[in-house]
Amino acid sequence: MSPASNTIVVVDDEETICETLKDVLEEEGYAVEIASDGVDALALLRRLTVAPRMVILDLLMPRMDGNTVFSTMKDDPALADIPVVISTSDPSRAPSGVLIMKKPVDLDVLLDTIRKHG
């Protein structure tokens, strides 16, 4: 997979958050893929032929939580280098050493984070 993709993957079980972030990011010129839980997210990431520019990952989700997605990605050489931002209302649950964006997401902070770290 090439790291030159312009795709942002948004993983959140709150559909309206996914849809709003999609609108905002598409307006800024990004392509957006959405997954509503950890299982879908990993399946989506493995399906993409080009590595996404960044994954915005919620923590508390049904079926598989964000922490498990994050550790699975780190253990998978094909996914380990994709930048991840954890988007959560409770940063104390996030794994250490990861970029965290506190919910509710400030859209300027989000866009700035993608520009800097994506």
Binding site: E14, T16, T20, V24, L60, S89, D90, S92, K103, L107
Partner: protein, 294 residues
């Protein structure tokens, strides 16, 4: 013979009396034993009942803890997540076109959603304090001086007609939980602005002269009604006259609990002549006190 017979007859009733006394004593002992057995049985029954009650109480306590965890989970995720969606949506509308009327409406939605988020955070803190075993602290090296100026800048930006003065002596460095102290001083300085008079600045004095502690006082020209003063740190004082904000009346309670969790103290003095001063003492040490349990 007569004498012997008299002797004999007189001995027989004597022996019989003794036997009767013995029998009576035996009966009395038997009755006492019966009573004791009955008492013991009663005691055993009471003990069994108490054990059942204790078991029930323990099961009830365990249920309460489970409900509490569910409640905390509900507040932490199930309520905050849709609120987060509201905020993100309003944030998006507010960015679209600043000249539109919809931007004003979106800004109002944002402001209400932020107020609701603060209340959810307070309820979550209250649950942690009262049922969950207390507030967990993450202390790290912190300069209170920097924290107080950040609060001053933020509050002056949102209250441009008001001014906040900061006086610092000595070193304001210690090991504290940054986010929690931000919460404490935002609440106290915000309250001081809200309840103070417009012409009078809020004055924050930070005294770090002592080697083991930092003392901070926050003063405004307002006065706390005498009936509120003794219960000012009590939770849910939302219905009092002093509490004009539309919050839950938990801010000062949580503030006090954060200070106590740091091993510190907070008190308040208020008179018409001298205004109101909240006074905090924060030990500089890294090791916080065990969480306060009620």
């Amino acid at each position: 013979m007569e004498a012997a017979g008299r002797d004999h007859t007189s001995r027989v009733p004597a022996a019989s009396d003794a036997s009767r006394r013995e029998i009576a004593e035996l009966r009395q002992r038997a009755r006492a034993l019966e009573t004791e057995i009955a008492q013991r049985k009663e005691l055993e029954r009471a003990l069994r009942e108490a054990l059942v009650r204790e078991k029930e109480a323990r099961a009830e306590a365990e249920r309460s803890v489970r409900y509490n965890e569910m409640f905390a989970g509900m507040l932490g995720h199930d309520l905050r997540n849709p609120l987060s969606a509201i905020t993100t949506g309003a944030n998006y509308i507010a960015r679209l076109d600043p000249s539109q009327k919809s931007t004003k409406a979106a800004t109002r939605i944002l402001s209400s959603a932020e107020r609701m988020a603060r209340m959810i955070d307070q309820l979550l803190d209250f649950t942690r304090i009262r049922v969950g075993g207390g507030l967990a602290l993450a202390p790290s090296r912190l300069d209170l001086d920097e924290l107080l100026y950040k609060i001053k800048d933020e509050l002056e930006a949102s209250n441009p007609e008001r001014s906040i003065m900061i006086e610092v002596v000595g070193s304001a460095v210690g090991e504290w939980d940054r986010d929690r102290l931000l919460q404490v001083f935002s609440n106290l300085v915000g309250n001081a602005l809200h309840h103070g008079s417009e012409g009078v600045p809020v004055v924050i004095r930070c005294d770090g002269v002592a080697p083991d502690r930092v003392e901070v006082s926050i003063h405004n020209g307002g006065v706390v009604p005498a009936e509120v003063l003794p219960v000012i740190f009590e939770p849910f004082r939302g219905n009092t006259r002093y509490q004009r904000t539309r919050g839950l009346g938990l801010g000062l309670f949580i503030t006090q609990q954060i200070v106590v969790a740091h091993g510190g103290t907070i008190d308040v003095a208020s008179t018409r002549e001298r205004g109101t001063t909240f006074h905090l003492v924060l030990p500089r040490g890294a090791r916080p006190m065990p969480p306060a349990i009620h």
